[in-house]
Symmetry: C2
Subunit: 175 residues, 2 copies
């Protein structure tokens, strides 16, 4: 008795409340500030806001566009997983993923895509020919979400899916 609410003893509660501010939830811009300050990009540029939005969209089950404490903790677990994954494929330790490394990352993660699709992905996510961590994250999360959407609909495992227009837009515009 006389104990504090369970969250108060959680080591992440302090950071969460500091980042969340008055409304007690973390939105994409608050997350961006936090990830920029913690040096997660590996460069001096701000952490991509777009990546923050995509990450929140993936975890935001109650559809508010913001994260409560549990979603925030899940996100940090996922983020650390992706950081490990990124370092695993950054063979030359350049701090960025180059085309050859990206090709290997994508196929090791189990995606079967053509060189043309790989080329389109490199073009979309590179800065000066290299992919930085925040863009890598956006790219991987998007590829995963799109592949999941596709597989859920490909119930006959035929490698092809018929989309109605509205369903296609919903799948592709939401992330």
């Amino acid at each position: 008795f006389g104990g504090q609410p369970p969250t108060a003893s959680d080591p992440m509660w302090g950071s969460f409340t500091a980042i969340a501010g008055q409304d007690g939830e973390v939105d994409a811009e608050e997350l961006q500030r936090c990830l920029t300050q913690s040096g997660f990009t590996g460069s001096y540029t701000p952490f991509s806001l777009d990546t923050c939005r995509i990450m929140i969209a993936m975890l935001d089950r109650d559809m508010t566009g913001k994260m409560g404490f549990n979603e925030f903790k899940e996100l940090f677990v996922a983020l650390n997983g992706w950081k490990q994954n990124f370092m695993l494929f950054d063979h030359d330790r350049s701090g960025t993923i180059e085309p050859q490394e990206m090709s290997q990352a994508i196929s090791t993660m189990g995606y079967r895509i053509t060189p043309q699709a790989l080329n389109a992905i490199m073009k979309r996510y590179n800065k000066g020919g290299r992919i930085y961590f925040d863009d890598y994250l956006a790219c991987c999360i998007k590829l995963q979400a799109l592949t999941d959407s596709f597989r859920r609909r490909d119930t006959m495992l035929q490698g092809s899916v018929t989309f109605q227009y509205d369903d296609f837009i919903l799948c592709t515009m939401a992330i």
Copy 2:
């Protein structure tokens, strides 16, 4: 005779060379700096890098990820068109697009999407419930590109398209 190359007399040539720098082409980050400085966002935040990449991807026919002078001029024509379009739908002159305005913009532009898809779009592109110009641009260009991809494949006008996995990823990851 004794004339200058045609581009030298073009009023936009000076800005282009200043922005393009040494390599004579404008990449996404150079475009971002230029659009941020020219106050195109309507706010004090940097113009979205993601939007710059999407715009370049749309115009970049030679697939270099950068723009030459002609592509750069086309982009400014398109950008001014979108600014007009944005102001047209910003009925209350708030400088941002609110959900009601977005719903009208999307249907006036001829897209037929469900309230669920509209809701997903608002969630993805809003900041504090409003859509700023740079995010509006990314959203509209993406919606247009995805709709075009869909229609090109819907040759029988059935409102449904069968995608192979690789084609689906190529269509959706490139922008």
